[in-house]
């Protein structure tokens, strides 16, 4: 009986509030302290993980960026030299431009694809489960296997893609042998892998209250009207999160395609995106200090892109909001 009393009292206030009950005060206090201690123990692995593997590396990068370090000899302080070198590094500039171009095309493409196909497969019809599974399937394929398969698909002469194009009378481009062809090829192969966005759009769509949709239909709203004034405002917050997430994803996910399809970022550095150039400097040239400087610039660059995307889109979505 007394336990029931406690529980109702406790539900009213937050568990951390000072205990005021007179009866059984000490054991209860001990119990709450013990409970919090146990919670912190449970939290510990997770906290240790993010501190040791994310925050600590991110912070150490800053002092490292001011040194010359090859991982064998101790790091040597060189002041701002790495940043001066970056300023003059033609390929670094190119990799920034490549990355920006990639984000500008790939992110909207992947998102529109995810949304359009989620709209198409939102309704429950026969076989929709298998179709949804087929759409997500490319996303779970290992990057390296996916990249190798596409390197074959993009083969200018024997590749299935150009053969397919030839049967409908189009002579396909030389893909990975051509600078713009290579850039487009990597965007194309990665625009198959939008499973995450698709699943999130599908979830967002299924959360739209059907009463509102029915009401709109009764009021005579057309399909487009329904989409614009009900569907879009309802899923806008999800789309906003997806844009940010996909932008972050795009900043590093093109490493494997650039390495395999572009054979280390080629042809002629056309697919040398930021991760590729950081990797090359750090692990091929063993210029770890320089790579750390580049990482920090990338970091600020990421932050700027994400913040501006967020600001622009949240203002726009704000107008659509309820």
């Amino acid at each position: 009986m007394s336990s029931r009393e406690h529980s109702t009292r406790d539900m009213a206030g937050a568990p951390a509030q000072p205990v005021t009950a007179g009866v059984g005060r000490r054991p209860r206090l001990f119990r709450d302290i013990a409970w919090r201690g146990q919670l912190i123990l449970l939290l510990l692995p997770f906290l240790a993980g993010i501190v040791l593997l994310v925050f600590l590396p991110a912070l150490i990068g800053l002092p490292l960026a001011f040194t010359s370090y090859n991982s064998l000899d101790p790091p040597e302080f060189t002041g701002l030299r790495n940043f001066r070198d970056l300023w003059n590094d033609r390929i670094f500039h190119l990799s920034l431009r490549n990355t920006l171009g990639f984000i500008a095309v790939a992110v909207p493409l992947r998102l529109l694809g995810a949304l359009a196909i989620a709209l198409l497969l939102a309704r429950r019809v026969r076989g929709v489960g298998s179709m949804r599974a087929a759409v997500v399937l490319p996303t779970v394929v290992p990057d390296i296997a996916w990249a190798l398969a596409w390197l074959w698909i993009f083969n200018p002469i024997y590749g299935p893609l150009n053969i397919l194009l030839r049967t409908i009378g189009i002579e396909g481009p030389a893909w990975m042998l051509d600078e713009n062809g290579a850039r487009f090829a990597i965007i194309l192969m990665m625009s198959w892998q939008f499973g995450e966005g698709f699943v999130i759009c599908l979830g967002a769509l299924s959360d739209i209250p059907s009463e509102i949709v029915d009401q709109a239909r009764v009021d005579g709203a057309g399909r487009w009207e329904q989409f614009r004034s009900i569907t879009l405002p309802c899923i806008a917050p999800y789309l906003l999160v997806l844009v940010v997430r996909d932008t972050l994803f795009s900043l590093h996910a093109n490493f494997v395609p650039a390495k395999i399809l572009g054979q280390e970022g080629g042809p002629n550095y056309a697919t040398t995106y930021l991760p590729m150039w950081i990797y090359t400097n750090a692990f091929s040239y063993l210029r770890l200090g320089y790579a750390a400087a580049m990482t920090w610039v990338t970091f600020l660059f990421t932050f700027a892109i994400v913040m501006s995307t967020w600001l622009v889109l949240s203002r726009r979505f704000g107008r659509w909001g309820p």
Partner: protein, 277 residues
């Protein structure tokens, strides 16, 4: 009525076209893996090679220690996936039970951690791991499991646990049940769909992981399976049947786990799955 049937028919047809387009690259991966090695590449689309040759799959094992690397992958994944699920659900459970002010801080911390791209930590993780003498061991591949592989999974668990009525946990606490027991006997069994989804996603992340083994592991006999593909590509860059055979063997486990787990999150009814609430 007829108009409705017609639009449904259109939807289904278009859905089929999309589905076929999506899996087409995988179909080509499989058909190419069955071609006779060294034969003239096709000039027309070829659905079933003539003759169908299975020897490419065996050749992969002769070209490099593929079996060892597969075993390494299995071991690393078998350690890292359960550890990820444990740490993510512990973290999520603790966050869901701590006071709101602490929780807000932890959520912000996890979100910031999730925002930092892995690329940004390559160089310094490498420096830290080499200082700790962990380069060329499996530690750099397994340790990220401490944070649930991606910090987002702890947040996914937090949201799932937050959906469970608080009084259940309060009652357990007042009965003197420890936090760990409450997690093990009440909280964790109640969020099965989340666990299935997180298991599936962390499996995919660890099984598919190519970049981290590439950076942190040097000896071939300690490498994991994705690296085998890139090594094979260096050895025989034009032997497409063999390369695709290796790609198929790497892809099959990822696809199987996905197909087993997918029902829980793609087909979950509204409000039930991890994306439902």
């Amino acid at each position: 009525m007829t108009r409705r049937t017609w639009t449904t028919g259109f939807r289904v047809t278009l859905g089929l076209v999309v589905a076929v387009t999506m899996v087409m690259p995988l179909v080509w991966m499989v058909t190419t893996s069955l071609r006779e090695p060294g034969s003239v590449p096709p000039r027309r689309l070829e659905w079933i090679p003539d003759p169908v040759v299975w020897s490419n799959y065996r050749d992969v094992f002769d070209a490099l220690p593929f079996a060892t690397m597969a075993a390494n992958s299995v071991i690393v994944t078998a350690i890292a996936v359960p550890l990820s699920v444990l740490c993510a659900s512990w973290g999520g459970f603790a966050m869901s039970q701590l006071v709101p002010s602490t929780r807000r801080w932890l959520v912000a911390l996890a979100l910031v951690a999730a925002m930092i791209p892995t690329t940004a930590t390559w160089v310094t993780r490498f420096v830290l791991f080499s200082q700790a003498n962990l380069i060329d061991t499996w530690w750099p591949l397994i340790l990220p499991a401490l944070m649930g592989t991606s910090p987002l999974f702890a947040l996914v668990y937090l949201w799932s646990f937050a959906g469970i009525p608080r009084d259940i946990f309060d009652a357990a606490r007042l009965d003197g049940t420890s936090a760990f027991r409450t997690w093990a006997t009440i909280a964790f069994p109640l969020v099965r769909p989340t666990t299935i989804a997180v298991t599936m996603l962390t499996f995919t992340m660890h099984w598919n992981n190519f970049t981290e083994p590439l950076i942190y592991i040097q000896s071939l006999d300690r490498q994991t399976l994705p690296f085998a593909l890139s090594a094979l590509f260096q050895l025989a860059p034009t032997d497409w049947p063999m390369l695709m055979a290796a790609a198929v063997m790497l892809t099959v486990p990822a696809v199987v786990v996905f197909l087993i787990g997918q029902r829980s999150f793609i087909e979950s009814a509204r409000g039930e799955g991890w994306l439902g609430n």
